[in-house]
């Protein structure tokens, strides 16, 4: 197995790492001090050299986002952290916030410095009350040590961080819906370019805004400590550095792991203890429930897990939720559960997603109940085609993509559930004989 440098998880097993004193004994806040002495653009240059891309799902280069903030504009700039981790299969940000909240706080200082923002909101999903408390405590400790507030460490730079708790909505993990929710509205997505300016121009309260995932921002601290160029030497191509992966489902050691981008999936599976109780695997989902599945064959298990390879093979790296399923799992049954989820979480704003997820659910329900019709499979694909790329935000695509993946590789499982009601079987079936 290849060597796996641990960057975010370097001090994972240090006791009381969530305490600021312990954290500071382990390189803590050294990167923040560094950033405060650097020009904002120099911080962005370091991030550029590291090749860091957004870890929340879209994989957008972080330095381009940060660079998009208008220079010399007198409006306030906002840094918003997306801690609305809701993608089924993903549980990495929760561990980061519970066990290493200062990595996030320090990352916020660095990001805020880079984009010249004096106010940061950390939007945490409502269910994460424990991580919320953990982050609040870390923020308080940082204020007490003079790493937050006015004139941080004598640098003349001010920063306040506030925790904002969500209240139960998957949709709020979508960047623009999260901004709506932060402003006290229903968590519905907002217009995007070209119909509206990017958040870096007009985000929350019509001001320049950067929305970053917890892991993305947390990675900024180790990047500054080791140097962007050194970080950029890890990995290959455009998938640089390490990433946290939540490995779940039928494996012996489900957990969060840190792997270099491009590590073969088989190696990750082996690190996670291999298939649960040795039972053969049927398929896996590479990047959270919204990404299309792959059969657990040699061809796919040998793929390197990175942004480009997943895309080239018709799926996505997503948020790093790697889920394995053994041969006892029915693909249509799993998809039925998933469709209930997406229909429940669709915000209702646009028709393709609101109606589409509802119909995907109804058709799955009837197939599972034995009432499936011969044309249902094509109907499912037709609905998927009418959601994909046509919904207001990515939630619609997120519901359609898994079905397309499931039908590409496991159409026969759907067909097996649909009773044969074709005309020929009716005509030639023997007539029932009257009793007597």
């Amino acid at each position: 197995m290849s060597e796996q440098p641990q960057i975010l998880f370097k001090y994972r097993n240090v006791e009381n790492y969530n305490n600021i004193d312990v954290y500071m004994k382990h390189e803590g806040y050294a990167a923040a001090r560094k950033a405060l002495q650097m020009e904002p653009d120099a911080v962005i240059e370091e991030i550029k050299a590291s090749g860091l891309r957004g870890r929340g799902g879209a994989g957008f280069p972080t330095h381009i986002k940060w660079n998009g903030i208008p220079k010399n504009w007198d409006k306030p700039h906002y840094l918003v952290i997306n801690a609305d981790e809701g993608e089924p299969g993903t549980a990495k940000d929760r561990e980061l916030m519970n066990k290493m909240p200062h990595l996030l706080v320090e990352g916020c200082i660095i990001a805020a410095r880079a984009i010249r923002s004096n106010r940061c909101y950390i939007y945490i999903r409502g269910e994460y009350m424990e991580p919320g408390q953990s982050v609040r405590k870390a923020i308080q400790e940082a204020y007490d040590k003079g790493f937050l507030g006015k004139n941080i460490q004598g640098s003349g730079f001010d920063l306040d961080i506030h925790v904002h708790m969500g209240a139960g909505s998957y949709e709020c993990g979508e960047e623009s819906a999260l901004m709506s929710s932060l402003m006290g509205e229903r968590g519905m997505p907002r217009h995007k370019p070209p119909s509206a300016p990017l958040p870096v121009i007009s985000g929350v309260w019509d001001s320049p805004t950067i929305v970053n995932n917890v892991e993305t921002v947390a990675t900024a601290a180790p990047i500054l400590n080791m140097g962007g160029a050194a970080y950029g030497k890890i990995g290959s191509g455009r998938s640089l550095g390490t990433k946290l992966f939540t490995v779940s489902g039928h494996v012996n050691k489900p957990a969060n792991y840190e792997f270099v981008l491009g590590t073969p999936i088989r190696e990750i599976l082996e690190t996670a203890g291999g298939p649960l109780n040795g039972k053969p695997l049927k398929f896996f989902i590479p990047g959270g429930s919204s990404t299309p599945l792959f059969p657990a064959t040699d061809k796919f298990l040998d793929l390197p897990l990175d942004y480009e390879t997943m895309m080239a093979n018709g799926s996505m790296l997503g948020s790093g939720g790697l889920m394995f399923f053994d041969e006892g799992v029915s693909v249509p049954a799993l998809m039925t559960r998933l469709m209930h989820f997406y229909a429940h979480e669709s915000c209702g704003k646009c028709t393709p997603c609101r109606e589409g997820t509802n119909w995907l659910t109804k058709i799955h329900d009837r197939i599972m109940a034995g009432g499936g019709r011969h044309e249902d499979i094509d109907l499912l694909l037709d609905i998927c085609n009418n959601i994909g790329g046509r919904s207001f935000c990515a939630l619609g695509d997120a519901a359609a993509m898994p079905i397309q993946g499931a039908l590409k590789y496991f159409r026969h499982e759907y067909e097996a559930l649909i009773p044969d009601r074709s005309l020929s079987s009716r005509i030639y079936a023997p007539l029932p004989v009257a009793a007597g």
Partner: protein
């Protein structure tokens, strides 16, 4: 009614945001605490009055989010994750087990008002599936034995 302390808390929350309206989600959380775990119409009116918003808009927001309870629920809200990572590790059987133990089904509350049982969408603890939450607390790596012990413990509370 909000207590004096809660009102002070609300004043401090509002200061964190450039607009009063942005304090709506935290204000609803606070109201839910003040009103015994749910949001009756008077709680929504009180929040609306405080934030100078039309009550209908406050209700529109409150009904969008699943964690604001629009009906009175049990003292302990047991929410078992039934999304796919937990599903394949036995979540549905756990829901049935708890339901049988408490004599209620999914979405129901015990007659003494102590427990409400729900299925929940992904709670974000997939590496420790199956999982559930009671109030703010997570319980992970559940087994039928563990779940039995947890429910017994809460019965005594």
């Amino acid at each position: 009614m909000f207590t004096v302390e809660a009102k002070e808390q609300l004043d401090n929350i509002v200061k964190k945001y450039p607009t009063k309206r942005a304090a709506l989600l935290p204000a609803l959380w606070l109201a839910q605490e003040q009103y015994d775990g749910w949001l009756p119409p008077e709680a929504l009116r009180e929040v609306a009055g405080y934030l100078e918003m039309p009550p209908a808009e406050v209700e529109g927001v409150a009904t969008f989010y699943t964690m604001y309870n629009k009906e009175k629920i049990g003292k302990f809200h047991i929410e078992v994750c039934h999304n796919i990572a937990c599903m394949v590790r036995g979540a549905d059987a756990l829901i049935d087990q708890i339901g049988e133990k408490l004599g209620i089904g999914k979405g129901e509350t015990t007659p003494d008002g102590k427990f409400t049982l729900s299925g929940a969408e992904c709670l974000g603890a997939c590496a420790n599936a199956p999982c559930m939450m009671i109030g703010a607390k997570y319980f992970e790596d559940l087994t039928p034995e563990k779940v039995d012990a947890i429910v017994e413990e809460y019965k005594k509370k």
